[in-house]
């Protein structure tokens, strides 16, 4: 039997729909380097928009099955790769984060809900999937990234720019690296904005697929500076399930909406606790509050994270739980959330933004 044509292969592959982007994978340009040998062997590269793609395995088996069913096909070789696309076309080349494709802010409004823990594990999970990831600690007063990543060295200066600290495969920068020890940073608001800008402009971030930005609590200087200085791809909002936390998370969300930053969704932290002695599931801070708030506000719910001693222990000892105990329930929850965040982020790169022309 004759080998099929390339067009025949593309025709069947165009039946695969990307659930997040709402289009077929052929018209999205995900099928590359397609070759059909005279003997009927088909090989191609399936290029995802993120290595943390939640439907990666499904895509691969779908592609193999569909192509395998074409008469004349004797073998299918699918190479899965990923290429994160830049979020937006900027109007002019920017001095701010020129090599960064996607900027993802992690915010909460309220303090103490585990923003930094989520930011560190989100970054680590994206890194584990194969992406180049940076993590910027925008909490000037209470930087926790150095402790949570076990990186307390001072950044080196090269040609007047700071080199990010490397730990766990991540590029990091925090005020805790610049001013280590117990000294407090005593700044008024405008200085906070300047400090955050400096960490974006004066740090040599290089080429990154994702820069995760851990924001301090509140809806003031830090968040505003960030939303004005860079076109953020989106913001993930962390909260705990109880009303006092979700109410404030909603305020944070509304602030970002006002600034036209897309909410990627809500994350519920400390969602439940499994007692190690009795195995019983406790919902200390209630449960499902974030999901209900997400539904009410019409934003995605990205997932829930359990309250686990291991997450806290690993944060204190400086290794994110997704790296130290990848099989724990907590790590699994973070992995799931990271792939959801990556998927929502990919959608943003296909958005058509306003085009401004000045004559």
């Amino acid at each position: 039997m004759a080998a099929p044509s390339s067009q025949q292969v593309l025709d069947v592959l165009s039946h695969i729909q990307d659930p997040d982007l709402g289009r077929d994978v052929v018209s999205l340009g995900m099928i590359k380097e397609l070759e059909v040998s005279p003997q009927g062997k088909v090989s191609f590269t399936f290029e995802l928009t993120t290595p943390a793609c939640p439907v990666r395995d499904r895509f691969k088996s779908q592609a193999q099955d569909l192509v395998g069913e074409i008469p004349g096909v004797t073998g299918v070789d699918v190479r899965m790769t990923a290429n994160v696309r830049p979020a937006f076309m900027r109007p002019k080349p920017s001095e701010i984060l020129p090599g960064v494709k996607q900027t993802i802010a992690v915010a909460s409004g309220k303090g103490g809900v585990g923003k930094s823990t989520v930011a560190v594990n989100l970054a680590a999970a994206l890194r584990r999937s194969g992406a180049e990831v940076g993590l910027l600690d925008a909490d000037i007063y209470g930087p926790s990234i150095p402790a949570m990543t076990g990186s307390k060295q001072m950044p080196e200066q090269v040609n007047g720019r700071l080199r990010p600290i490397e730990a766990h495969g991540l590029k990091l920068m925090s005020f805790g690296h610049i001013y280590p020890g117990e000294q407090a940073t005593i700044y008024r608001g405008p200085m906070v904005g300047k400090a955050i800008e400096a960490m974006m402009i004066q740090v040599d971030w290089g080429q990154l697929d994702y820069l995760v930005i851990d924001l301090p609590p509140g809806t003031g200087d830090a968040s505003l500076t960030l939303a004005q200085a860079v076109p953020l791809t989106g913001v993930a909002i962390v909260c705990t399930p109880q009303d006092v936390a979700t109410d404030i998370a909603v305020k944070a969300l509304q602030m970002f909406r006002k600034l036209n930053v897309t909410p990627l969704g809500l994350i519920e932290n400390m969602s439940w606790y499994i007692c190690p002695s009795c195995g019983h599931r406790h919902e200390i801070f209630s449960h499902g509050g974030a999901e209900a708030a997400a539904k009410r506000l019409g934003v995605p719910f990205l997932g829930a994270i359990p309250l686990e001693e291991g997450i806290r222990e690993d944060a204190d000892s400086g290794t994110p739980v997704v790296i130290s105990r990848p099989d724990s329930a907590g790590a699994k929850a973070f992995e799931h959330i990271a792939s959801q965040v990556a998927a929502r982020t990919s959608i943003q790169s296909f958005r058509q933004l306003p085009v401004i022309n000045v004559h």
């Binding site: 109007p91 006002k258 600034l259 930053v261 958005r351 085009v355 000045v358």
Partner: protein, 89 residues
């Protein structure tokens, strides 16, 4: 200046129109006090010429005029409401 919106619609603005619509506190007034634009009747040509447009995050444009005036942040929703919109489709 011309903006092609996400939905394909297009708006065009003259420098003069944008200058008179400047939303900054100096021009608009603050705390109940009228601003500069309420007190004056004319603006010089260099006040009306656009020199530069910068994106502010992704919610607004900062428009700088030849006179050096650049304190107005024009949010996209404000610009959309301001401009006569021609449908492109």
């Amino acid at each position: 200046m011309e903006i092609t919106w996400e939905d394909g619609n297009r708006s065009t603005y003259s420098g003069e129109q944008l200058r008179w619509a400047c939303p900054c506190a100096e021009c608009r007034g603050e705390a109940g006090a009228p601003g500069r634009l309420a007190r004056i009747k004319t603006l010089s040509p260099e006040e009306l010429r656009i020199k530069d447009v910068t994106l502010v995050g992704q919610y607004a444009l900062q428009i700088a005029f030849d006179s050096g005036h650049a304190t107005g942040l024009y949010t996209f929703s404000y610009l959309r409401a301001l401009g006569p919109t021609a449908s492109q489709v």
